[in-house]
Amino acid sequence: MIEPLIDPSRRDLAAEYRTRPFGRHSAALQALLDVMYRAENCQNLILIAIGGGRWVLGERQPDRKPPRLFLDEVFDSLEAGQWAAFRRRWRALAGSELDLP
C-alpha cells in the first residue's frame, strides 16, 4: 500500500483545479488527483442532483446501501460540487484546510 501524500504547499495545483475542474490538467495536478482518487479514506464521494439545478455531496455505502446524503451544504452547479469534494479531500490527505483566496 502506498500512502497517499499531498504537499500542502502546492496550492497552485488547487487553483488550477478550481479554474478548470474538467478537461486537461497539468501532469502535476493529474498526479495529485490520482492520489486523491486512490485514497481510501475519501474515495467514495458522489454528487446528487436534488432538483432545481441544486446538488449535494454524498458518500457511497458498502453492502448495496443507498448513498448517504450531506444535506447541510447545497451547490448550485456541478463545478461547485466538484470543488467542495476537492477541498474535503485536501483536508483529509494534507491534514489541513485548503487555504486558497
Partner: protein
Amino acid sequence: MSAIAETPGVIGYVDALTARPGERVTVRVSVLHPARRYRAGLVRLICGETGPKGPGLKEEPIATAIDGEHEGREQYTDAGSYAIVERLPPLGSVEIELLVWPGCLGGRVQILMALGRLRLALDESGAAALLAGDGALSAGRRLREKAWHRVEARYDPATGHGFVSSTPLPGFHADRAGEATGALPAGIVPQGPLLFAAERLAPGRTARHFDGKLEAPRLRSGTVAAAWDFAVGIGTRRIAAVASDALDGVTVNAPKRAVTGSLWDGSVQDWRQKPAHYAAIHFHSDDLYDAGWEESLAFRLPEDLRSGFYAVKLEAPSGPPFHVGFIVSPPPGGSGARLAVLASTMTYLAYANYRRRMTPGPYELSMGALPTVDMTDILLAEHPELGGSTYDVHPDGSGIAHASSRRPLFNMRPTGRFWNFSMDLCLIDWLDAAGIAYDVVSDHDLHEQGAALLAPYRAVLSSSHPEYHTLEMLEALQAYLGGGGRFAYLGGNGFYWRVTADPAHPGMIELRRAEDGTRAWAEAPGEYYHATGEYGGLWRRLGRPPNAVFGVGFIAQGFDASSYYRRTAASRDPRAAFLFAGIEDEIIGDFGAWGDGAAGLEIDCYDAALGSPPHALILASSEGHSNSFLLVNEELLSNRRGVDGTTNARIRADMVFFETPSGGAVFATGSIAFIASLAHRGYDNNVARLLRNAVARFLDPTPFAIPRLS
C-alpha cells in the same frame, strides 16, 4: 443552507418498450407515497434534461384515458431466481442430494432445496444444514466458495431423525467433509411444491434465495425416485426430470443457464458440445425477470399518434415525477416520412437500473469526475429488489448477464443522467426544431422485423450510443445499406457487444461479456456461449467490427469534458462538398450541452486494419482530449504508458463519410456527445448545419457514386 431531497413517490413500467398507434398500453404502478394516490398522463418527449447549456426538458401532454388522479398501492416484487416443481407425489421419509457451488457464503441462510417446511440449506456459517420446521442440523463444516460439493440429507418425519453431509468433489484443495446426525422435530412432512434455490412462503412470495450453482438434484422417498438434469432445457424455462416428465419444473426469474457444471474440465467451451459439462444452473438472489405487478392503468394509443419517444408520467403528491419511457413506432410500412431515427432500446435495456455509480470504489480513476446521480437513482438504490443492470454484479460477484423490461426501468426517462435515452432526445429536439419529418423505430422493432422495417426510409439516423446489437439487427442494417440505404451513425462506442433476445423470456436480453473489451465484469471461463448457442463478446472479436460497416469503431472514453473536431483536407474533397456547404469554420463543435464540445464521452476512430473502407473520407478529427480519456483496453496487448488523451494521437473521434456500392452512403461522427451540440445558439451552429446538410442529401434519392480507387 440545508436541503430537503425527495425521491419519487410512484414508480411503474409498461409491458413493452415499443408500441404502435392504436395499440393498448398496460401500465403497472406501485405507489410508495403514503397518500396512495398519484396522477398519470401520457407525454411525448421532445428534449431531456440537458443542464444549463442546453434547451432543457420539453414534453408535450397527449390526452388519453389515463389522464388524471388515481388510487394505487405499493406492489410487491418477488426478486430472486429459483426453480419449482409444482406437483410431487406424497412423500414420507426422504433422501435428497445435489451438487452445490456456493457463490458467496456466510451471514444468512440460503436454501438449496425446499419441500415445504423441510429444507436443505447453507446456514449462516456457510455449512450445509437440514432445516425441519424450526429445528436445524448443521454439518458443521463451512463449504468453500466457488467450489463444487456434494450435499446430502436424510429425514424421517416419523421419528425426526436427520442426517446431513457435505463432501468436496475431488480437486487439488484439501477441503474436508462435514456431516451430522441428530434429532430434529418430528412430523414435518416433506411436500411439494419442490423449490430449488429458495423457499416459498406463499404463492408469489419466496425467500432465503441461494447465490450459486446447483446441479443434479435427486430425491428418494419410498417408491418415489426423482432426479433432474439441468443440462436438458438450456435456452428454455424447463427443468427436466430424468425419469418422468410429470416431475418437470420451471425456472422463475431467469437464472443463468448454459453455465459450467461440476464435470467441466475446459475441454469444451461450447455447451452444446458436451451438455453434461453444463448441467448446472446459476441462481442469484437478485435475479428479476418479471416483477409481476398487477395492471394499474390501460389505455389505447391514439390512432393518429406520431411515432416518437413517449412516457407515461407518474406523479405522487410530492417528490419528482417518474417517467415510464417507451417508443411509439409508426404504423406498419411507416408514416410516409423518409427518415427514421433508430432508438437504441437494446442499449437502454442493457443499462437499465445501473447501480454501479452508487457502489464504493475508485470511480474517478476511470471516469475523471465524481459520479453523479439524482433522487430517482437514490430511489433505485433503496429498492434492490428491482434488479441491477448488465453493468452490475450479483452478490456472488458474477456479472449480471440478463436485462428484462418487465420491471421499472430507471433510465428510460428524460431526466437524470444525460445519457442514452435522455441524450437521444437532443436529436428529436433538433429534428422538430428543423422541421424535418421522421419516424422513430426501435432496436426491438429491427430485431423482430429485420431490414423490412427500414425499407420505407431513404435514410436512418442512429442514436448517440447504439452499443448493443443482436446478430439479427446487424444483418438488417447491413441489408439496408446493401440495398442503397443511407445511414448516419451519430454516436460513439456503437455496434460493440453482442446480445441475444431470449425466446423463453420475452422482453429479456442476454449478454456474455466474453474475451475482451471495455467492460464492467468479465464472463466466467467456459461461459462465453449464450443460452441461444451464439458466441458472445465484442462484435469486433466476432469478426464484425463496426469500422467495416459504419467507418469507425470504439477507441477511447473519458467522462469529464468534451472537445472539438478540426477539419481535415479531405473535408474539401468534392465528394464531401454537400456536407460542408455553408460551413467555413475549421473547428467544428467547440460547444455543446455535454462537456462543452461535440467530441466526447465515448469516441470512435477510423482504422483500416479493422476494415474501415479505404475510400472513406476522414472529414474531421477531434483533438485536445483530457487526461481522463484512455485508450480502450481491446487496443492494448499489454498494459503500458502513453494511453491518455494528452499523450496518444489515436485518442480522437473521426468524422467519416463514404459511399456504398449500391448508391447509399454512411456518415459517422464517432462521438456520443455530438448530438448534444445540435441546439447550441438556437440550433444555428456548424454541428447542426453539418447534420442538416447530411440529412438533406441522404433524403435525395439520387444514388451516390462510389469513387474509383487509385
